[in-house]
């Protein structure tokens, strides 16, 4: 029962995390999960949005987008259509929440980090690659800010690491890290976001073709937990590199 690219069901695609991809951003990462390639930049600015001023707390937010030809068929630009689609909104919100789950906004101080995750090439799992890469870009931006003394000495703005992976049931078999062709065929599809210490930040399971039972859900959670742990190790390695 081999997968289209020869992987075992519980195997990640080759992952690469290339730091310092952009010369302008305070943190930047080109992350690849196989052929899925996402450019993640972290823009650090002093100050916070108006509604947060004077709170002593920082703010972290994210925006996700796809280049028009990141996919097999060209999609219209959302800027040309004049509005952001539901899927884009949903993923941007997911990335923001996922990262905020490991940020100590008080330790960050009244500073803002915006994470831009632009999909240069898509082959399934763009949102999970984006979260995994954005964490590393965020960590670099925080280090940069510490170097510039924009974060108070002794403060630790990041409580833990965070990574994400997709899992799904394809032809009744639970698979880790779906490629696009697998994703399309999946009966059930789940994105899981976990912290480095193994707790859940987000669990989003959707029955695409058929509702799933508790046993299937448990199998998917097990698979995703192992995948996230592997990704967390790769993140630490990249940051130490």
């Amino acid at each position: 029962m081999s997968r289209i690219d020869g992987r075992t069901p519980d195997q990640l695609r080759p992952v690469s995390i290339e730091r310092g991809w952009s010369k302008h951003a305070e943190g930047s990462v080109l992350v690849s999960f196989g052929d899925t390639r996402v450019l993640c930049t972290a823009s650090f600015t002093e100050g916070v949005p108006r509604w947060r001023k004077g709170s002593g707390e920082g703010w972290v937010t994210a925006e996700y987008a796809m280049l028009p030809r990141a996919t097999n068929t060209r999609g219209d630009r959302e800027s040309v259509r004049g509005k952001i689609g539901g899927r884009t909104h949903e993923i941007s919100r997911l990335i923001g929440r996922s990262l905020r789950a490991v940020v100590d906004t008080r330790a960050l101080g009244e500073n803002t980090v915006v994470l831009d995750c632009d999909v240069l090439q898509a082959d399934g799992g763009t949102r999970t690659a984006a979260i995994t890469g954005a964490y590393v870009a965020l960590a670099d931006a925080v280090r940069w800010a510490q170097g510039k003394k924009l974060v108070k000495a002794g403060r630790v703005p990041l409580r833990d690491t965070v990574s994400a992976v997709s899992v799904g049931i394809v032809d009744s078999v639970p698979y880790l890290d779906l490629r696009y062709e697998e994703d399309v065929r999946a009966e059930t599809d789940m994105n899981v976001v976990r912290t480095g210490d193994g707790r859940f930040v987000e669990v989003q399971g959707t029955a695409e073709a058929a509702p799933f039972d508790r046993a299937e859900l448990d199998a998917l959670l097990d698979l995703a937990s192992a995948g996230c742990a592997d990704l967390a190790a790769l993140q630490r390695e990249a940051l130490e590199g």
Copy 2:
């Protein structure tokens, strides 16, 4: 350890499902989960969107919105702002997916049902009330269509019922069917959508204040499963009434 309204942790709020609320729609339900009140209408039309023509399959979609003063503080209208917010998009998509999970689009034939879920008053759980009520409105619209012979005889467009409930961990205790004040205080918050036969359609868990471990996740899933089963019974009762 009593809740603000005296419920036990595993107790639903009083639920009412009032059918036939609107004289124009083919199916319409005013659903209440406590003080949360959502008007769900099902609009049945012959024909499908262009991209589905000739497929022999129908289409079911949903739109969710809140009246500006459904909440404690008045919100700007999305029509006035000129765009739909991310939250609205996300919930509309969730409702649509949840209902499509029990629809046999081939049995529906080339017909379209649009489910409009407008929150008249909000007190937590608006999306889960919307799904629960929309199912009943959809069932009524399908019956109407069967009466009009718009669905072929012998076809069963609805494979099962579907209902939804929110669960969350408040002060370390798992609670069923959160009110707004509980939701705001929840460390973790999950929406679960289940079919009448007890399988999952959607599981969306989010760590609001602190990541959650597998045991907590399991407790929430148990609580939600029981709540969805109760709601399924109330749906059946309403449809038989």
Copy 3:
């Protein structure tokens, strides 16, 4: 010469004015003119828009909208289309002007009341029902503010009541309070807004099928004046109830 619902030409439909329909709004009314049902909420907030600051005067404004399936055929949401249509704009402006005609903005002080009139079900006369109901919601919000001492003691922010009704010429006969089917057939159609003391706030007459002469105009004004007086009595009754 009986009307479709058996009314005489000068008879209103059954009118109901249900106060306190929403738990959040400072004033809220579910008003019905027959099958036309409009939820009117009055949101009272301290402060005024920037252009009015320091004037010592308050501000009252209104927004009107229809739920997509309030009508016989589902209409697209204005939020989805990304803009507000001309009809919606026009009616929102009419409601706002009508209520401001009886508001003493100086007595109101630098406070704002927004009236949201959302049509839950439409059967003709939605704008006149909205004005009639919004007045009652506004009166309740003003009372609430007086109770909270947000309006100075001894000040009377409402100079009079205000109500509205539609009239039209159908098959050469002037009719009061048109239902949708009558409205569609009307040669001429007029909306009249009057104060409790019997003066006009707005008179908007439109030749739909044929221009009208002075005698017809006079007949419609007489009919509307009587209808508005009846509605004013029902408003007073509701507020005393």
Copy 4:
């Protein structure tokens, strides 16, 4: 009791109707009511909007706009703001309805006329000048179409002329054809649209500062009727010139 420009209360401003102002449009008029100057063009095209195809009937519609510096203070362009304001919508709809009231759409055949009324300079009464000028532009476009045999021989697409004027009560005196400064001070303000044979097409009276009684309404209607009759004579003169 003289007016700022020395007119008597029942006197129109100097009116000019300059035909053939644009070389491209099938009908075009630069109309002036005193310093109010509106360029009205009538664009005649064969065919009708999709919803009217096959009906045998034509369509007439109007769009009104103001140049940004038509007024004393520069206004933002609606194209730059990305949406049309309520006032613009309302006036465009009024102009369209007013002209359709004298159009025999069956005689027009499946042709469309769009009337563009662009205010080059504003000094009160822009909508009434627009209607009065647009009628003449429409008449020229219809003649042009008759010359081209685009309208069937023997058909009379225009049943009558139509003109419009504003009236208002300023310091308790009813005035005809208000200038901007008078309009601002008016307690009540009314726009009246009449056919050449003296019947009403639109009556839109609004209490700006104080509700008005039936006697005041009657006085305003008398004044407007005389003004519209004078304008109708000027229209005929212009079309014969």
Copy 5:
């Protein structure tokens, strides 16, 4: 080799520059290049946009637009479409840059001038007519401000005049000041903006049908230089008149 209107290749169309066309604007000009007619208004206001506050420098910007029936075929309004097209954006930016090239923003002080260039009738060369006319409107607005002491005594906010003309190669012959029919047939088309002292502000050459060589480019620049000099003389004459 005569042109459609009998001009020689190096001849301008009849140009007229009518000052004081609008009673509201601080400067206003109706400029005609043959049948191309553009209304240019200059709106002078004290203060500058936020990003320029405290700089001691003024700001000059421009907005260009066409009335819907300025052209042979009616175009949709950009306000109705809800967005500004690329061509409009491009020309607005060109006009603004061209005028700023002769403005001493320090001498202007913290004041803003907005130039609105609305094409009432188009027959080629609308952007060059707009620049030429807008300069005169700007000069009038600056004089007005000097009269009101809004510009410091002794300061000269305008360093020079600026004018613009189009040139193009039609049937291999370089032509000055193209009419619409010539523009459509041109192989190459260039807009040149020059100061009164004969230097270039903008040179925008575009190969419409065939790339052009250096000799052709030189011929077009010579032709445009002479044309701009003639226009500069007409501007000075208009301002002295």
Copy 6:
């Protein structure tokens, strides 16, 4: 007189043209002019827009955009703002015109190529890098189509190559291929687009700080011509590689 990066005034930055960067697009190039990095994809589809159907001619168009953190300071996304800015519009149009100048649309047949030029990192000259890279992507897409027999045998859809470069006067010295810091300081700034055979497609010169005379214009054109010739050689080399 050395430049910030040690180049001579007439020297290009290191240029790289990396073909086949994306697995989905029919042609794709990552082009770098120094630190400026633009991803150009060419999407080939059969068929043409409606207005061109049946003409026997193809269509080539372009869209340009910048990632939010391509620049030193993060810019808002145009999709979030809901509209495309003037600069984006202008550059997209320039790229499209430049490429169409070398396309034989008849030889292309009724096919469409969309060129997406997304700036991943900006350091001056993004539009010229985009044109230079897009040409290579277009050439690859045409080859792909020829391989698939989507272009008729024997037809040559590309008449020539096309490349572009920026030039400018910095501290009175004409410089080739400006970096961002040079561009900001330039008195005059010009973008030149040339065909492989040395003719001009576009010449866009703008006086940023001071108008320029004919001698300066000539010097800039010489410099740009040499730069474009070098780029054309690099394009050929890349396509042969």
